[in-house]
């Protein structure tokens, strides 16, 4: 059993607080992805769990055992780094075996395990090469093999794929998903790539300025973001935000009026509409938001139309079929009304009823 528990974990570098009183529980066998803007403390948090960084305050538990004061090697974690961090002077075999060698594991056991894992990761015929003789993708697979071979309780990944090109990234992502399905080891994964996060995660943790914004399965975070930050952070193109005033279940702005499904809420708010929930008003439907088309981006499978709404806000929506509006023309838009997001003045989601 290897659940990970963080209790009030805090980290300061000198006077700047990077992580502030963070609580989080990760279940055994779960794959949790940390996302957040650059510099929000993802790597720091990961390194604290690994023990590479001291905690200023708070406690860390792995498998029910308090490890806050323990040496990194004794926590039963292993880490895959963005830069691979392979030992340049050792061949692949020795790279993978190094940890076991240090632990004085029997030679036959080492050999058996190294070869089994090399087969698992399809690097069996690279064992006799130096890291400099490998491609980026191969190096990363060696790094993963090195992490796996010690059979850790927890895997930590710090942006493992961000040095790879797009195609390789997609492929390696699938491999990691497969590995996780097979090994069922608790994993924490840091990434900048939303597709990676959405596809791999059992649960996602959105961090912002050293604090947890929201935790939950990817779908829940995407469809029911609890804060304005999460809503804006996930999804590409970004969620559209309109400054509105809510009264009597109608959100009004200079761009138009949108009926919202809240009974009790009144006052200033932000209305969030995902680009896929915004459409051209067609035929008889009367538009709820008006604006002027400014730019059309053709991505092949879809087009993204940018519109300047009547109140000056920039909006974007997907347009899949038919002729897109020409830039400069006035457009009327409608929304999928059961998929709206409303946030109060503090940026918190207004509970829909």
């Amino acid at each position: 059993m290897a659940e990970v528990k963080l209790e009030g974990v805090t980290k300061s570098f000198g006077r700047t607080k990077v992580i502030e009183g963070l609580d989080l529980e990760i279940a055994d066998g779960e794959l949790v992805v940390f996302v957040g803007p650059s510099g929000c403390g993802k790597s720091t948090l990961l390194r604290m769990i690994a023990g590479l960084e001291d905690t200023t305050a708070g406690e860390i538990y792995i498998g029910g055992r308090r490890v806050t004061d323990e040496a990194p090697a004794r926590r039963g974690v292993s880490m895959v780094f963005q830069s691979y961090a392979l030992y340049p002077h050792m061949k692949v075999y020795k790279n993978i075996a190094f940890g076991l060698t240090l632990a004085k594991t029997a030679k036959e056991t080492i050999d058996e395990r190294v070869r089994r894992i090399a087969r698992l990761l399809q690097i069996a015929d690279l064992l006799d090469r130096y890291p400099r003789e490998l491609s980026g993708g191969q190096r990363q697979r060696v790094a993963i093999a090195r992490a796996i071979v010690r059979e850790p309780k927890v895997f930590l990944f710090d942006e493992p794929l961000s040095n790879l090109d797009a195609a390789l990234r997609a492929q390696t992502r699938l491999e990691i998903a497969r590995l996780h399905r097979d090994l069922k080891a608790t994993s924490i994964y840091v990434t900048h790539d939303q597709v990676e996060a959405m596809t791999l995660a059992d649960r996602m943790v959105v961090l912002n300025r050293g604090k947890v914004e929201q935790v939950g399965p990817p779908g829940e975070l995407y469809h029911r973001p609890q804060t304005l930050f999460v809503a804006g952070f996930l999804g590409s193109p970004r969620m559209n935000f309109l400054k509105v005033d809510v009264a009597d279940a109608v959100a009004t702005s200079a761009a138009g009026a949108v009926p919202v499904d809240v009974k009790t809420f009144t006052g200033p708010a932000t209305l969030g509409i995902r680009p896929e929930d915004l459409h051209l008003a067609q035929g008889g439907t009367s538009p709820t938001i008006r604006g002027e088309a400014t730019l059309v981006e053709d991505l092949g499978e879809t087009r993204i139309v940018h519109v300047q709404a009547a109140d000056g806000t920039d909006l974007a929506f997907h347009h899949r079929e038919g002729e897109p509006p020409r830039p400069g023309t006035t457009v009327g838009l409608v929304v999928t009304s059961n998929r709206l997001h409303l946030f109060d003045a503090d940026g918190l989601r207004v509970p829909n009823t």
Binding site: T10, S12, G51, D54, T55, T56, A57, T68, D69, E70, A71, P72, A73, R74
Partner: protein, 310 residues
């Protein structure tokens, strides 16, 4: 509230190991540097002699300045000491100045791409690699008053009409030694400056070229300020080294008053005259003089000793 530094076991082990790793080096340095230095300070207040270090008595400031039978004695009253200090300062200032100017010249030349540059760069390492004693001997031979090639060359060029006694003439010998030191250590300065030159951004030079600014102006207004940190480091290293110069003077001119540096003076007292007390006092004073000048220099220049070239 931030609790006091919490280190996990791994970090604690690292810090412990760090001290353990430092210990052998610190012990050796204490044995060969710190302790001997303290002993030298201590000896300077005694009348210890080399043959019998133990049979010493404290004599207070007797080695520095004290009245004996109504006459002031000690280093401060010793004209030879003052002469040695003067020689050392003249030597250090002149040689460091010349080395810096020549070193920059060498570096500028080596920074130009031309055929034979790598040969030139290799040649630069020749004087640097040659042992000081060997340089001293080579130059003594070249500067020999009767058979020296320098006199021969100068006479052929009609720059002198009769041989010059470079090393025996008290007005010339210190300058002969400065010449050899400049020859030997210019490469060091040149290499440091060259490393700095090669890190300079190319675009400001292109900009200057486009603006048609004359080369000498570019040098004084762009290059020199940019290599100043590297130069400051080179100068302090060279100066500290020049202030302790021993080999050249000892090998080329023995213990002639005209070239005697403080190091030569101190060793002569210590070893030749067996007067450990007096010699230690001279050493101590040299140490203090160098320390003082270094502090003044660091104050004035603030060179980045830790990594000017990174």
């Amino acid at each position: 509230m931030v609790s006091p530094a919490r280190h996990n076991e791994g970090q604690r082990q690292r810090v412990r190991a760090a001290w353990l790793f430092l210990a052998p080096m610190l012990i050796v340095l204490a044995l060969v540097a710190l302790w001997p230095l303290l002993r030298t300070f201590y000896f300077s207040f005694t009348n210890a002699s080399l043959v019998d270090l133990h049979g010493r008595e404290g004599i207070g400031l007797g080695n520095y300045l004290a009245p004996v039978d109504g006459v002031w004695t000690g280093l401060f009253a010793d004209p030879q000491w003052w002469r040695a200090l003067w020689n050392t300062l003249v030597f250090a200032l002149a040689s460091v100045f010349l080395e810096t100017v020549l070193g920059v010249l060498f570096a500028l030349v080596l920074n130009v791409t031309f055929r034979g540059r790598s040969l030139m760069r290799a040649a630069l390492l020749v004087p640097w690699a040659i042992p000081t004693v060997v340089s001293a001997k080579m130059w003594s031979w070249m500067l020999n008053d009767q058979f020296g090639i320098v006199n021969d060359g100068l006479m052929r060029l009609r720059m002198i009409s009769e041989p010059v006694a470079w090393l025996a003439d008290p007005t010339l010998s210190l300058w002969a030694i400065i010449l050899v030191d400049v020859w030997k250590t210019t490469p060091f300065v040149a290499l440091l400056v060259l490393a700095a030159l090669q890190m300079l951004p190319k675009d400001c030079y292109d900009a200057a070229k486009v603006d048609g600014i004359p080369a000498w102006k570019v040098f004084f207004h762009v290059t020199l300020p940019l290599i100043r940190p590297a130069l400051a480091v080179a100068v302090i290293f060279r100066f500290l080294d020049a202030m302790r110069m021993f080999d050249l003077a000892y090998v080329m001119t023995g213990s002639s008053d005209a070239t005697m540096t403080v190091s030569v003076f101190a060793r002569r007292q210590l070893v030749d005259f067996q007067d450990v007390g007096y010699g230690s006092a001279a050493s101590t004073l040299l140490f203090l003089v160098i320390g003082l000048l270094t502090l003044l220099y660091l104050r004035a220049m603030r060179p980045d000793l830790s990594g000017a070239r990174r």
